[in-house]
Amino acid sequence: MAVIPIKPAPAKSATPTKKRNFRQSNLIGYIFIGPWLLAFFAFTLMPMLASLYFSFTDYSSLDSLDKARWIGFQNFERMFTTDTKYIKAVGATFYYVIFAIPLRLIFALGLAMLLNTGRSGMGLYRAAFYAPSIVGGSIAVAVMWRQVFGTEGLFNGFLAFLGVPARTWLGNPDTAIWTLIVLAVWQFGSPMLIFLAGLKQIPAEFYEAASIDGASGLRKFISITLPLLSPVIFFNLIMQMISGLMVFTQAFIITGGAPLDTTLFYALYIYRRAFENFQMGYASAMAWVLLLIIAFFAAIVFRSSSQWVYYETKEEG
């Protein structure tokens, strides 16, 4: 399990000094990672185990800890059988992730390719496209978004300008979730920067050679750009999907889960159960199912990656 470091000083030259150096190096290593290790145990590992225990109890934070009663798998049963809200929350979250994340990455890649043409003004464009990403998670933008899609808001104003009649966006069960998806896609700036860095590393000769062979733009995109960028796309897809499954703030502020629970995202529902209904046991069970869902997706993406992610053979020694 614990991997032996590169210089374990085996029998060959186990001089006393080397042994001492090695022991000392162990000590120093643990001193340096000590802060992280302590925090990891105190704020990640132990809470995780506690959460796992709570998920099998009916613990409510209104009572004292010792009143928590072991109820076996009842929390999990309740989730998948009687709690219709839970099923809705899962559905809404998946709907959101399935649309928001691929759309965001497509925008990011498209814009990255447009900006990677060496024309002037690239710095300015890059900054402007990135700006929504840095403020996107803030309450200010969430408050603004609620007004953008309000009945009298900017979007309806824009539609009126085009001659389209105004509609309710946030109050309509069909469209409310799309205001959140649009908000997520709007923040395509950081994957765009990552793709831009990736595109810069593709040698121009590849494209030149392809042009000489008469390859079309689409051909070059499919045969050169996509494969060489696939590791980057792959990592972004995983990380963004995971953060998409955990989205909370925007739904909390903009729609509050309404209308008809169509935007009741998983994290929002956990928050409601834990901090508004004080059902810590039930909320912990939901959190652990979320963890399993994330682990499952991460595993699928990692497993399948060898099929579609192209890694250039490393030339380093």
Partner: protein
């Protein structure tokens, strides 16, 4: 190179109608053709840019409009008359607590959290990348895994723990976890440390410098760009942090900007939209100012790690 450019722009996948490429008469001189292409490029990309930043511009412009004008002239970006009344009204806050308090709270939280996070992330990153010790790879794998861990799994027991310690409405629950650094930053700094030649460490070691000395005298000064990048991200994420303060800070006197804005913009309690827009816009100011001055670091940070949540 040129061929590559045009194929990117003219391809239908990239939102430009294919007709454009057909409309260029080949008899037009090459330079002129380039100019026309360039014009359409900037028209399209620039237009799209404007569309993307438009909501933000709208927010700022609305905050400067007289209150009765905000909804009447939704599409008008330039106010008929500029007024700062909204900022004055908004700053008064709610429940006899002004935004001065909220800004103070946010600044204290953000600055302390950032300093702690960045220093300890640097320290841990050095340990992982330059010191050999048993279990290094195992702990590193653990750290990377926490990047994918949903915060909901740990936040409930954390809350129970901190509330049993009677630490609700204090800064401890917000700051203590920061002493371990942050996995994303540790990873980013490690990438940076890899670029520093090991010979430097070895030379210092020969001169009698211990690992601790190497960290403080050699690595720490050299990783400053990475630390700045981490500091900026940490500042942003803490400034915009909502869930942690929401759970641990219940007293309005302790509210951060995020919490205050949420209460202030509650549609059932406040309908002074001018003031709401003004305070929202103001809360984004530090973010934009830092963005303008440190953009280079941000771009580098994102590009070198290749991932960001």
């Amino acid at each position: 190179m040129k061929a590559q450019i045009s194929s990117f722009i003219l391809h239908p996948l990239f939102f430009t109608p294919k007709i454009m490429s057909l409309s260029f008469d080949l008899s037009v001189p090459k330079q002129k053709r380039e100019l026309i292409k360039s014009f359409f490029y900037h028209l399209f990309v620039g237009g799209f840019c404007l569309l993307m930043v438009y909501p933000l511009l709208w927010l700022f412009s609305s905050s400067l409009k007289p209150t009765d004008e905000i909804w009447r002239t939704v599409m008008q970006l330039i106010p008929s008359s500029i007024t700062f009344d909204n900022y004055v009204n908004g700053w008064a806050g709610f429940g006899n607590i002004s935004f001065t308090t909220f800004y103070q709270n946010s600044l204290i939280y953000t600055v302390l959290a950032t300093l702690i996070t960045v220093f300890f992330s640097g320290m841990v990153a050095y340990g992982f990348s330059r010191v050999n010790f048993i279990g290094r790879k195992f702990w590193f794998a653990c750290m990377i895994t926490t990047l994918m861990l949903p915060v909901q799994v740990v936040i409930i027991p954390q809350y129970i723990m901190f509330s049993n310690l009677k630490w609700l409405n204090t800064l401890y629950p917000l700051l203590l976890p920061r002493f371990g650094g942050q996995a994303f930053f540790i990873f980013m700094i490690m990438q940076f440390v890899r670029g520093i030649p090991k010979e430097l460490d070895e030379a210092a070691e020969i001169d009698g410098c211990g690992k601790v000395g190497i960290f403080f005298r050699i690595i720490l000064p050299l990783i400053q760009p990475a630390l700045v990048t981490c500091a900026i991200f940490s500042f942003y994420w803490t400034w915009e942090d909502f869930l942690t303060p929401l759970i641990y800070l219940n007293s309005p006197k302790l509210y951060t900007i995020s919490l205050a804005l949420r209460s202030f913009a509650d549609p059932s309690a406040n309908t002074d939209w001018g003031a709401i827009f003004a305070m929202s816009a103001l809360s984004l100011m530090p973010v934009f100012i830092i963005f303008i001055f440190f953009q280079r670091y941000l771009v580098q940070g994102i590009s070198t790690t290749g991932l960001k949540g």
